[in-house]
C-alpha cells in the first residue's frame, strides 16, 4: 500500500466543522483510483492530506495517521517525499511557476528545484512534452497558451518529476474535450508503476479509466470498491455522485446495479 490513512480527521483553520472525519482508507499502486462525492464532500481535501499539503501549507489541524510512501507527508517525511508526490490542480494559471520564460522551463521547474542534473532534467522534460504532444511548444512563452494547452503543460510538469504517487484534483475542470480525453487516457499507463488518484465530479469520463472508486460524503467514506458496485447504486445517485447514464437508469426504474456508461446502458436496455 503506498497510501494509508487511519482515522484521519482534518479541519481547515477558522472552520466550524471537520472537512474529513474519521477517515480510514488505503490506496495501492498499479490502479487508477477515483475519489468522488458532491461538492464539499472532502475529495480535494483528501488529496491535500495525502500530499501533506494539508495542514503544512493550508494550515488547520489534522488528527489520525497518514502514511504516504512509508512516511508522514505533513510532518517528518516532508523533505524525503519532495518530488515523489505529484498534484495537478484545477486551474492552470495559478500553477504557473512564475519564473519560466518558455514551456520547457516551466516543465523543468519541479525537477530543477529537486536538484537534478541538467541531462536528467532535459530527458524528463522531453519525455513529458512528448507524452502530452506539446514538443513543438517547448520554446513558447507559457503566457501565450490557451487554458487547455497550459493544463497539458502542467500535467507534463507533474509527470516530469516522476512521482510515485500522482494526484489529480478536477484536472479537466477548465478544459476542452480533446485535452480532457488526452489526460484521462494517459492515466492507466501512468498507473502501471505508480499510484494514481483522481478526484473529480466529472464521472462520465473518469469512470472509463477507473479501477476503483471511493465515494465520500461530508468528509466520510460511504462507499468503496469497483466502479459498478459503488456508483451503480441508489445511494450514489442520491449522494449526487454518479454518472449520467446511471442517473437515467435509476429514474427509469431499472434495478441496481445501474449501468455506468452509455454503451453499458444501451446493452442493458436492449436485453
Amino acid at each position: 500500500m503506498s497510501v494509508h490513512l487511519e482515522q484521519v480527521a482534518f479541519r481547515y483553520p477558522g472552520s466550524g466543522f471537520d472537512a474529513l472525519r474519521d477517515l480510514s482508507l488505503e490506496f495501492a499502486p498499479g490502479l487508477v483510483h477515483l475519489v468522488t462525492g458532491r461538492l464539499g464532500s472532502g475529495c480535494s481535501t483528501l488529496l491535500l492530506v495525502i500530499a501533506g499539503l494539508a495542514p503544512h501549507v493550508t494550515g488547520g489541524s489534522r488528527s489520525g495517521s497518514v502514511v504516504t510512501l512509508g512516511l508522514d507527508p505533513g510532518g517528518s517525511g516532508r523533505r524525503d517525499l519532495a518530488g515523489r508526490i505529484g498534484l495537478l490542480l484545477p486551474t492552470p494559471w495559478t500553477q504557473l511557476s512564475g519564473m519560466a520564460y518558455t514551456v520547457a522551463e516551466e516543465v523543468a521547474f519541479g525537477p530543477a528545484n529537486l536538484g537534478w542534473n541538467r541531462d536528467r532534467i532535459r530527458e524528463a522534460v522531453d519525455g513529458a512534452l512528448r507524452l502530452v504532444e506539446l514538443e513543438r511548444f517547448a520554446d513558447r512563452d507559457p503566457r501565450t497558451l490557451s487554458g487547455g494547452e497550459l493544463q497539458r503543460v502542467m500535467f507534463a510538469a507533474i509527470v516530469a518529476m516522476d512521482p510515485a504517487v500522482c494526484l489529480l484534483d478536477e484536472p479537466a475542470m477548465e478544459l476542452d474535450l480533446e485535452t480532457t480525453e488526452m489526460i484521462y487516457q494517459h492515466l492507466p499507463a501512468l498507473a502501471r508503476e505508480r499510484t494514481v488518484i483522481v478526484a473529480t465530479t466529472d464521472l462520465d469520463r473518469a469512470v472509463r479509466v477507473a479501477d476503483r472508486v471511493v465515494l465520500l460524503d461530508g468528509g466520510s467514506v460511504i462507499g468503496e470498491g469497483n466502479p459498478a458496485d459503488v456508483l451503480g447504486t441508489a445511494r450514489a445517485v442520491e449522494a449526487g455522485a454518479t454518472t449520467s447514464a446511471a442517473r437515467i437508469a435509476y429514474l427509469a426504474g431499472i434495478a441496481p446495479t445501474f449501468p455506468l456508461t452509455v454503451s453499458a446502458a444501451v446493452e442493458r436496455f436492449s436485453r
Binding site: L48, A51, L53, H56, V57, T58, R78, R79, A82, G83, I85, G86, L87, L89, T91, T94, Q95, L96, S97, G98, M99, A100, Y101, E105, A108, F109, G110, P111, A112, N113, L114, G115, W116, N117, R118, I121, A157, M161
Partner: protein, 236 residues
C-alpha cells in the same frame, strides 16, 4: 523607446551578467566619488562608446529621453533659482551615467539568465525565486489593474470630479485588485510546494551563462578602480 531586454548577440550580451552588473555598480559609485564637474560626463561618454560597440545604440535614445526631465528640473532649480550651474551639470551627469549604464544592463541581460547565474553562484532559492517571479508578477498585475479600471468605468465609475469623489473612486479599483491577488495565494503556494519549492535541495540552474577569465578580470579591475577612487577621495 524601449525598456527592458533586447535580444541580441553583441559584446554586452555575451558578457556575464555579473560583470555587467559590476559595471553598473562601479559607475554608480564612481559618479559620486570622482572629482570635477565633468567626471560623470566622462563616464557617460565611455558608456556611449560601449553601447555603440555592443550594438545597443537605441538604448542611448531611451537614456536621453529618461534624463531629459531631470536635466530640466536640475537646470531650473540649481542653475536658475540658485544660480549654481556647476552643481546642475554634475548632478545631470550623475543621473545620466547611472541611467545609461542601468539601461544597458537591462537591455543586455535576460532576467532568466541572471537568475540562473545567481543560482550557479549559490544564491538561496528564495532570493532567486522572488527576483524571477516578481518580474513576471508585476506586468501581470498591471494588466489586471488596467482591466479592472476598464470594467469599473463601464459600470459607471466616475474618475473625475471633486477631490473627495476621486479619492473614493480608488476604493472600488484597488480593493478588487488586492482581494483577487490574495485569493490566489493559497493555490499558488500549493503548486509551488508540490513542485519542490520547499524541498531544501539546491536548485539546478537550467542555462547558466558561461563565465570566462576575461569577465572575472574585468570585475576585479572594476573593484580595484572603485576602491582606489574611494580611498584617494577620502585621503585627499
Amino acid at each position: 523607446m524601449t525598456l527592458g531586454y533586447r535580444p541580441g548577440d553583441g559584446l554586452l550580451h555575451r558578457t556575464h551578467p555579473f560583470t555587467t552588473a559590476s559595471l553598473a555598480g562601479a559607475v554608480s559609485v564612481l559618479v559620486f566619488v570622482l572629482p570635477g564637474v565633468l567626471a560623470p560626463w566622462g563616464l557617460v561618454a565611455g558608456l556611449c562608446v560601449l553601447a555603440a560597440v555592443s550594438g545597443l545604440l537605441p538604448v542611448l535614445g531611451t537614456a536621453a529621453a529618461f534624463s531629459a526631465p531631470f536635466w530640466g528640473f536640475l537646470i531650473l532649480i540649481h542653475g536658475v533659482f540658485r544660480d549654481d550651474l556647476g552643481t546642475a551639470v554634475v548632478l545631470a551627469g550623475r543621473i545620466s551615467a547611472m541611467l545609461t549604464v542601468f539601461l544597458l544592463l537591462l537591455a543586455s541581460v535576460h532576467p532568466g539568465r541572471l537568475v540562473d547565474a545567481m543560482l550557479e553562484r549559490g544564491a538561496p532559492f528564495g532570493l532567486a525565486y522572488l527576483f524571477g517571479a516578481t518580474l513576471q508578477a508585476v506586468p501581470q498585475l498591471q494588466r489586471r489593474a488596467a482591466a479592472i479600471l476598464d470594467a469599473q468605468r463601464c459600470r459607471g465609475l466616475r474618475v473625475r470630479g471633486s477631490l473627495v469623489r476621486r479619492a473614493r473612486a480608488v476604493i472600488p479599483l484597488a480593493v478588487p485588485l488586492v482581494l483577487g491577488a490574495l485569493a490566489e495565494v493559497d493555490e499558488r503556494a500549493l503548486a509551488l510546494e508540490i513542485r519542490g519549492a520547499g524541498s531544501g535541495a539546491r536548485r539546478t540552474p537550467l542555462d547558466p551563462p558561461r563565465d570566462g577569465a576575461v569577465g572575472r578580470l574585468v570585475r576585479w579591475f572594476l573593484l580595484a578602480a572603485v576602491t582606489g577612487a574611494v580611498l584617494w577621495r577620502l585621503l585627499s
